[in-house]
């Protein structure tokens, strides 16, 4: 299913306003201190439309840092599935690729009902990226700057108008009621789109081939002394995992109030902490930092390909921004390659 339309920029606010009536519209805003943050849109004209980078990744809308799962009391247990409708506008292609992988991870036979309930009620409008940051390297991984499949709606900015591609039924549904706002694309539109893609490819500063790194590790060419030097720089902040659009780990905790009431919730967790694998009696299977650094890198570079046929990295560059020790995947890959 792939349907293409053209939407004039003048019509965009009207269309979004209509969509907002049925869902929480979330998009990129510039905060007072210059950052781009995704939050609920009050004034549509304040939205930043040039596909900017944001931290954290949009996984926070499907798998928030803290998610209440159950409320329990003497009377029984309540499941707190979040099924609020959300439309998230202005997401980058790399993040859409990540969500496609998250869908496979949380979905499937053992379906995570908390993730899926949010997922089913969330539509993503992505933008073919024409504005990659110096930290981005999706182009080498095929997870951006533009996608062929996997999106609900993909916009390509053609100056005064957008080329809109629908990649899912949910995507089409957002357009269907408003056909009067959309045109069918002509050859000029397609030519313009092609040019945008070409030019965005040329902006990338980083050329990283994770495959080379994988081969090196598999061939045993990366000695432990290398990982030791990486680990020694780790601040154990967990930022790499929290920021990563693909990292899925969580902890489950119970908060008990008076009279046996309480909440069971899950929180983002990270394998960068020794307590992550701690077992009763203070047994620490990954007591040394190097074990945890290797674990993270090997999972992303060796075992994701085994399990999903893709790297556990979409090249969004967020760990490069956030890692205080400067041992993010791009830096390490550059060193190894």
């Amino acid at each position: 299913m792939k349907d293409e339309f053209v939407l004039s920029k003048t019509n965009l606010p009207y269309w979004l306003r209509q969509l907002r009536k049925k869902a929480d519209l979330i998009g990129p805003l510039r905060s007072l201190n210059g950052d781009i943050i995704f939050s609920s849109i009050v004034n549509i004209h304040e939205m930043i439309l040039d596909c900017p980078a944001s931290i954290p990744s949009p996984k926070e809308f499907l798998f928030p840092q803290k998610e209440e799962m159950y409320k329990f009391s003497q009377k029984g247990v309540n499941t707190l599935n979040d099924n609020g409708k959300r439309i998230i506008f202005g997401v980058r292609s790399c993040d859409i690729s990540a969500i496609a992988l998250l869908d496979r991870f949380y979905g499937g036979l053992l379906e995570d009902d908390f993730y899926m309930s949010r997922r089913r009620n969330t539509c993503f409008i992505s933008i073919a990226c024409n504005n990659p940051d110096p930290t981005c390297f999706c182009s080498g991984l095929g997870t951006g700057p533009a996608l062929k499949t996997g999106f609900d709606l993909q916009f390509t900015d053609l100056g005064d108008r957008y080329l809109v591609q629908a990649g899912s039924r949910e995507g089409l549904r957002m357009i269907n009621g408003f056909m009067h706002l959309f045109l069918l694309p002509e050859k000029a539109d397609r030519d313009d789109q092609y040019e945008v893609l070409l030019s965005s490819q040329s902006i990338f500063e980083k050329r990283i081939t994770l495959e080379n790194v994988r081969q090196k590790i598999l061939a045993g060419k990366v000695p432990d002394s290398f990982w030791e030097s990486v680990a020694s720089r780790c601040f154990e902040c967990g930022g790499c995992v929290y920021e990563c659009p693909l990292c899925t780990c969580f902890n489950v905790i119970d908060w008990k109030e008076k009279d046996n009431k309480g909440t069971r919730m899950r929180l983002w967790d990270t394998c960068m902490f020794k307590g992550f694998t701690k077992m009763a009696g203070n047994v620490l299977p990954a007591g040394k930092k190097i074990m945890r650094t290797k674990r993270w890198y090997f999972h992303k570079l060796l075992y994701y390909p085994e399990q999903f046929g893709r790297f556990g990295c979409v090249g969004c560059g967020r760990c490069t921004i956030t890692c205080p020790g400067r041992i993010d995947i791009a830096t390490i890959a550059n060193k190894l390659d």
Partner: protein, 691 residues
């Protein structure tokens, strides 16, 4: 879903972060990417700083203790009762019988109000806060040397410096984001020198790591300066033009030739010489120090020696060149700036200075006391005697102060104790009345980070039911004690503070949106100061102060053969009121431990995880062993976050004579393995709730 830009409530780095809120529930945080300090990073505490905010253990209503048990009460009742009792004590024993502890965790506005409350409403200068225990030696020491006791440079400058001399600071763990800038600087070719008895993470990146004996910093620094003078590396021009008292100082330094320095410190003379040369000859040298310098009986001396060193080499008064005390708490700088100290008003204006006092008297319409009040440590010493009542806001002295059992005893002797906190802390347990306050996410205000950056805090959620912002509580209390405090919002308090505080003159809420302003900022058109002492020191000429080496108060002996030094670990913060209610942090380090060198461990037959008794002349605690070569032989290290093994039961309350800071960093202890009692294990499990 909203994201509110605010400031991390943990350490003095003052990282910017967003609090994510959905339906009045905090669902997460994320770092501010453009922030000059954290640049899109956070440390593990920052990443998890939201969890305690809506923890079920929060205090939700005032509690009044009647017949030894706490009873739930209404705000009116609790405030009336508090006002009545404070007034009673004031009438009977005079205003100076009441002591106030303000808080480095509260906002500038709240600290300002607290000091106004103390001075104008109660009428006493008995106000202090935990800076007494961390950087009072900096405030005092640098006031004498430069006229101002704060970081001279900005964190952002670190990246481009050439030499980083870090003494007594475990930077990557205690000020992680400053540590990040330091690693960046090292990556860009800067030379890092670390002086620390322990092998900390930052020391692994040092070109030279000096492992001097605990408490011998003065000898080390004097030895370095001796080399600098002897080898003609002194910046004579600077010394002549901008400083005074060089000759007296030189005489003392000449008594510390390298062989003597080596003997005292245990650092090889060649290393001292190398460090002295590197530090003196490179330009853009930044010196950093923290509690390893200040928490000694010679705290002030240590600080002054650092000041001597930077003046000697002219490493001050320029960008990337200066003396940088790293302040611990998120707002300890602000609490000092706002005058939550017994001898100064906001902006370090002395209470003994008639003109300043007049100014405050006329602004506040009240007669103010002119004699400096008691320090925190002195208040506890006088408790039950000349101090009859105390008002403690957001502090937990029962765990944080040295010789903790003495503090508990002292508090029990009080006639009346008000504690204002967010959780039932150990101090609150002892209170006559407990007032529930709110966390950083539920109120407005400003925090001043360690680089003097005043940043705005924004309210993200409504206060958890029943709790009230500290500034509201203080003004309500004040009203009930017969002094009207009418503030509609926190920016009005800041306006008043700005009016009365020259260095904060231009610091007004509406000017703080873009990562705040760094004081001194004297006026509304001033854009703040990134580095200090340009062209002249705050007090005019910088003063060299001759310092002789004094050994620590408690030397090791046959009964207590180990030196104990205390500190923090990256996963926890101070007495753990907040972080130990954060599952991730608590899971990482749930138990207190003592770090001991493998050689010592072997001679005592100790393995990691063994239970050990650590005892000093003051008491005993039982902790787990952690055998590591991070600590050198003869020295053991215990973090002070754990109430069940409160290391401050055994630390030495010996004080620095001027700053009254206790010697947390050195005391003599003995170590012996213990066999756990059979019932102990059960207790140990049930303790950890709500991880």
């Amino acid at each position: 879903m909203k994201k509110i830009s605010t400031v991390c409530p943990y350490c003095g780095c003052g990282c910017g972060l967003y609090v994510h809120v959905e339906k009045d529930i905090i669902t997460g945080v994320s770092p501010v990417r453009n922030h000059p300090v954290n640049k899109g990073s956070l440390c593990v505490k920052g990443w998890n700083c939201f969890e305690f905010v809506q923890h079920p253990g929060r205090l939700k209503y005032p509690l009044i203790k009647k017949d030894g048990v706490f009873k739930k009460s209404s705000w009116d009742e609790a405030l009336d009762w508090t006002a009545e009792n404070l007034l009673k004590v004031k009438e009977k024993f005079g205003p100076d019988s009441i002591g106030m502890l303000s808080s480095a965790k509260c906002t500038n506005e709240e600290n300002f109000l607290m000091m106004k409350f103390s001075r104008a409403v109660v009428g006493t200068n008995n106000i202090d806060h935990c800076a007494r225990l961390c950087h009072s030696s900096t405030v005092g020491g640098l006031a004498k040397a430069f006229g101002s006791g704060a970081m001279t440079n900005s964190i952002d400058e670190i990246d481009s410096s050439r030499v980083l001399f870090v003494i007594g600071s475990n930077t990557t763990e205690q000020h992680p984001m400053i540590g990040m800038h330091m690693l960046d600087a090292v990556d860009r070719g800067a030379t890092l020198i670390v002086a620390d008895p322990r092998k900390t993470q930052i020391a692994e990146f040092a070109k030279i790591h000096l492992r001097h004996r605990c408490g011998t910093d003065v000898a080390l620094l004097n030895g370095m300066m001796n080399v600098i003078i002897n080898e003609g590396l002194v910046d004579l021009d600077f010394v002549r033009r901008r400083t005074e008292n060089f000759d007296d100082f030189e005489k003392i330094v000449m008594r510390y030739p390298l062989d003597i320095a080596e003997k005292i410190t245990g650092v090889p003379a060649v290393d001292i010489r190398r460090v002295a040369r590197i530090y003196a000859t490179e330009k853009r040298s930044m010196l950093f120090y923290s509690m390893g310098i200040t928490q000694h009986i010679t705290g002030v001396d240590n600080v002054r020696s650092c000041a001597n060193l930077v003046m000697l080499t002219a490493h001050i008064g320029l960008p990337m060149t200066g003396l940088n005390p790293l302040r611990g708490q998120n707002n300890v700088q602000g609490a000092c700036d706002m005058g939550a100290l017994p001898d100064v008003y906001s902006g370090y204006q002395k209470v003994t200075d008639k003109k300043a006092r007049k100014k405050f008297e006329s602004a506040w319409g009240a007669k103010l006391p002119s004699v400096p009040g008691r320090t925190l440590t002195e208040m506890f010493d006088a408790a039950g005697g000349e101090i009859r009542a105390m008002y403690i806001m957001g502090e937990n002295p029962v765990i944080s102060d040295p010789d903790a059992s003495h503090v508990t005893e002292a508090i029990k002797k009080l006639d009346f104790l008000v504690v204002q906190d967010i959780f039932m802390s150990d101090t609150a347990e002892l209170a006559s009345v407990v007032l529930p306050a709110v966390t950083f996410a539920e109120k407005d205000g400003t925090f001043t980070n360690t680089e003097r950056r005043v940043q705005k805090l924004k309210k993200a959620i409504r206060p958890v039911c029943g709790a009230m912002p500290d500034w509201r509580i203080i003004s309500e209390l004040s009203k009930r004690m017969g002094y009207e405090m009418e503030y509609g919002a926190t920016h009005e308090i800041m306006e008043e503070a700005a009016l009365l505080t020259p260095s904060y003159g231009g610091i007004l809420h509406h000017r703080l949106n873009n990562f705040g302003l760094q004081w001194p900022c004297p006026g509304i058109d001033h854009s703040g100061t990134t580095f200090m002492h340009r062209k002249a020191f705050t007090k005019g000429m910088g003063s060299f102060i001759p310092i002789d080496f004094v050994p620590p108060a408690e030397p090791v002996d046959g009964d207590y053969p180990f030196i104990l030094t205390t500190g923090r670990i990256s996963f926890h913060y101070h007495t753990g009121t907040m972080c130990r209610r954060t599952s991730t942090l608590e899971r990482e380090e749930p138990d207190c431990f003592v770090e001991i060198n493998p050689a010592d461990a072997e001679s005592l037959g100790i393995k990691t995880h063994d239970r050990l008794s650590v005892s000093s002349r003051r008491g005993e605690i039982v902790v787990n062993a952690s055998v590591t070569d991070r600590t050198p032989e003869g020295i053991v290290f215990i973090p002070f976050h754990f109430r069940e093994a409160a290391v401050n039961l055994i630390t030495n309350p010996a004080l620095d004579p001027t700053a009254k800071i206790p010697e947390y960093k050195v005391c003599a202890v003995n170590i012996a393995p213990v066999v756990p009692k059979p019932d102990e294990e059960g207790k140990f499990f049930s303790r950890r709730e709500n991880r």
